[in-house]
Symmetry: D2
Subunit: 96 residues, 4 copies
């Protein structure tokens, strides 16, 4: 359980819904790759499909990140938890 | 249908099996995030889970890429399809 | 001239100094690659050196980003420029 | 000294020249950022410039990688050094 989460910094419900929809679609895409791997696919076709799923996940990450910046990081100085929020954000942005 | 694929440059069966196993595990992880989004998760916890799935997909991509280099690209000069293989590989490596 | 910059959201002087030092070192590294290219280097040795410089630039970017989050983004709600700051930050984080 | 380099797998001279030109331009860009840091720049302007240099280095890396794939990796099966070339290439492509 994340201590900051208990401050009720929950993900915005509208963003949560869009993230769900996009992840469901990414899951469908992943299932397509699994089906592809039951046959005899060409390596590069598999690589392209993996890359497409990665792109979809990047978009979900961007949605969540933008919402987090707007709703939580931008008001950190008011709440007094800037150091914690910035430290954990930097960690999650590494090599993203 | 990829024209080079018809040259029967199929993904190595052992790699195909390992890729399948890892993608099944990534799919399970994705389902976990979907479940998480039914509740009221903290943004950064969602970002961390998405990043973990990305890391798993990176590993599958690496497996397939390594196999492709070993089994297909390394013998391209012998087959005479170097230009096609390198062009499509560069495309798939962009921003990866 | 960036309109937000005029709000005097300048880069923190200590971070600016560390960024300078690290960029000077990256520049020296780059000059080393240029020297290497006067000879007959092996491709992969060049790739490794480029990757090292990229890593050094990533670290400078992280320094500046962390400082920006702490000193400017975290107080955006107080100043009332959250939307602008988040929009430009998302732009710069794309594919980073 | 890289043992494979001694097999005289040198970087193609034309690519070497283009890489040099692009690295010189990247170096000029880096010097511009250093100059910028003597003043009081806005964080995001610094981040954008660092990102631009990274993009320029990515392009140099792509040039060298493409040449390496065409001239060395594609003929690895003929020379019999596939395993070494693929291993070192996978290493350099990690997190690129």
């Amino acid at each position: 359980m994340n201590p900051i989460a208990e401050h009720t910094l929950h993900l915005d419900p509208k963003v949560r819904q869009e993230a769900r929809n996009r992840l469901l679609s990414a899951k469908g895409h992943l299932e397509g790759i699994l089906k592809m791997l039951e046959g005899e696919p060409y390596c590069v076709d598999v690589l392209k499909q993996i890359k497409a799923v990665q792109g979809a996940l990047d978009k979900v990450g961007d949605l969540v990140l933008k919402s987090h910046l707007e709703h939580h990081v931008a008001s950190a100085a008011q709440r007094g938890d800037t150091d914690e929020l910035v430290a954990e954000l930097m960690e999650v942005l590494k090599y993203r």
